[in-house]
Amino acid sequence: MRCRGKKGVAVQYATALFLILILNFFLPRMMPGDPFLIMSADSENEVISVLTEEQRQYFISYYGLDRPVYEQFASYLFSVARGDLGESIYYKVPVWEAIWTRLPWTALIVLGATLMSTVVGVLLGLFSARRRDRPADKMLMVGLISFAEIPSFLLGLVILLAFSVKLKAFPLAGAITPFAHYSHPLDALWDIGYHAVLPIITLSLTQLTGIYLLTRNTLVTVMTRDYIRTARAKGIGERLVWTRHALRNALLPVVTRVGFMIGMLMGGAVLVENVFSYPGVGSLLRSSVIARDYPLIQGIMLVMAFSILTVNYLVEIVYERLDPRTSSCEAT
């Protein structure tokens, strides 16, 4: 399956990106209706005609809609490449700017969740592998697997209801306390962290299990290898054998998993942000959906798709560097 080489991978991701661009270009054109119709309907339809035929033609050529489709598509590609994603109808600012102001919040919870699920997942995996088939291992496994089956936004709702509504231990919404005045920069940091805790926990709970299972299962196989026996025979303590010899080698597949996880977390963040009313790109998406702000929806989609594709591509490249075996033709 991985018998593609670097060029193949690049072509694959480039094609995927191109497909998305094509979709983005044609979807608005596939919608029924004509933006000029309402302005130019003739009096027979009992609509006052605002535009004369001449003016209509002028607008059509002004927006470049009289040019052939491939020319329109080419100019669309150029403007996207320049970073021009159009103008938001609702917010009256360039789409790029609207996304840019929200992006740091999404990045915060996505990266926070990546970090947390990786660290906790690896530690739990190590814990579980050392107690393989004992009650603690089995309970942890059943519990975490059940958690993984619940999608992040449903889990987020449960967590929100439990911790913010019922226990009132965490804030219900937002990323900072509104109208707060911080006497110290650390206070601001604390406030941001306090608001980000629940979204980060929610997001990482769904991805934690994958990391946990991967670490645990790789560790279990690694521990049967000869070099582990050698290490033990040399008299190295059990603790060091696990951390230095076993864990280090078991971490390689975890690296890939973490990379691909970022992509999945971005998708999950869209919904989770809405659960917690967190002011990231995801809640921007929801408000643009409600306002039917099509350029903004498209822009968000493009930015998200582009970043997911880039991250996944980089992960594949990095993984090939880390583990040269994957570049050879293996039928997996």
């Binding site: 399956m1 593609r4 694959q12 991701y13 094609t15 995927a16 497909l19 998305i20 979709l23 983005n24 979807l27 608005p28 596939m30 919608m31 697997i145 059940s146 089956e149 619940i150 999608p151 936004f153 449903l154 709702l157 449960v158 929100l160 209801l161 913010s164 509504v165 219900l172 992509g263 971005m266 998708g267 999950g268 869209v270 919904l271 809405n274 659960v275 998406l285 929801r286 959906v289 409600i290 039917r292 099509y294 929806i297 498209q298 968000i300 989609m301 998200m304 798709a305 997911i308 594709l309 996944n312 039928a331 997996t332």
Partner: protein
């Protein structure tokens, strides 16, 4: 039944025998194509029996695995059956029409409304029952279409090999690289969010995985001794696929059908939660959307009977599907490992 199965097999064997003789003269894909044509004519005439035969094989493998389910798996099946029951018999287990205003706005649960009413005074229990239909229909339709269709494509490509296989593999790779959720949102935002559109988009985004799994299975099986000897005895590809490869691939397809159905249910409710569902339909995701869009719902007691029921129902359904899927996977897995597949 047994006679019918046997009869169709024998006739098929004859047909594929002729075909195999023909294919000895012709080369490569063209031969396989001719073979396919002959047997497909045969299938058309014996459509009923072959379908029955296929169904019997599928049913056998499913029954076989259910017998080996764990307690959690059996509970999952019981839970799923319960949801299917309330969905099918929704008019009989509810007292009100789900979109009829049957009470006061935001009534708490009581004797008149088992689970209370929402802000428009519609019965929540009715909405749950009728909403189950939406989730089940979407899950089932998407999973069946992409599981069976993708599985079929993978089977053909894996067995035939050559350029078709290469092309399919490329397409699978690209489809799997597409970030599904952003794509889903943008398509749903532009097309009108009818059930059909949602199903089509989800199929487009989820057919690749079963295709890939089944393809690698078919590829691995093609090299097995007994398949080779069957081929040398003059069995045509359609016969081999149906008789030997299909029974082995069916459990795999079944597992991916389960996985895809929960993916589709999550995707549909996620879209609805974002406000991209069909506003005229009753679904659990739409209930979540309306409840969470209600201003300051968390400061009122309303969330207890408005937000909780669809939330619990969705989680319950997904857990049931997950339990069943995990048991299926466990049962299918040893065979998988034997073949050296993924």
């Amino acid at each position: 039944m047994a006679e019918a199965v046997c009869g169709s097999f024998c006739q098929e064997k004859e047909a594929s025998f002729e075909a195999a003789q023909k294919s000895a003269r012709m080369a490569g894909l063209r031969a396989i194509k001719a073979d396919l044509n002959i047997v497909s004519k045969d299938i058309v005439s014996k459509n009923k029996e072959t379908l029955r035969d296929l169904l019997a094989a599928a049913l056998n493998s499913v029954c076989d695995s259910i017998g080996r389910f764990s307690l959690a798996g059996k509970m999952g099946i019981a839970g799923l059956l319960l949801i299917v029951f309330i969905a099918v018999f929704a008019p009989f287990v509810t007292f009100y029409d789900p979109s009829a205003i049957s009470g006061m706005s935001l009534d708490p649960p009581g004797p008149e409304h088992i689970l209370g009413t929402d802000e428009l005074g519609m019965d929540i229990w009715s909405q749950i029952c009728y909403g189950a239909r939406m989730s089940l229909v979407i899950g089932l339709a998407v999973a069946m279409i992409s599981g069976v269709g993708g599985g079929f494509l993978g089977l053909m490509a894996g067995y035939m090999g050559g350029n078709w296989d290469k092309m399919l593999l490329r397409t699978i790779d690209i489809t799997m690289a597409l970030p599904s959720f952003p794509l889903l949102i943008v398509i749903a935002a532009f097309l009108n969010p009818s059930i059909l559109n949602v199903i089509l988009v989800l199929v487009f985004l989820s057919w690749a995985k079963p295709a890939r799994v089944v393809r690698s299975q078919a590829l691995a099986m093609k090299k097995q001794q007994y398949i080779i000897s069957a081929r040398l005895h003059g069995a045509g590809p359609v016969y081999i696929i149906r008789r030997h490869i299909m029974p082995e691939a069916l459990p795999l397809i079944f597992v991916s059908i389960l996985n895809i159905s929960s993916y589709a249910i999550v995707a549909e409710s996620g879209l609805a939660f974002l406000g991209l569902g069909d506003p005229t339909s009753k679904s659990w995701g739409m209930m979540l959307h309306y409840a969470t869009s209600f201003r300051s719902i968390y400061f009122t007691p309303y969330w207890q009977w408005w937000l909780m029921p669809p939330l619990i129902a969705l989680i319950f359904l997904l857990l049931c599907l997950a339990f069943i899927g995990r048991d299926m996977e466990r049962i299918v897995d040893p065979r998988l490992r034997l073949r050296g597949g993924q």
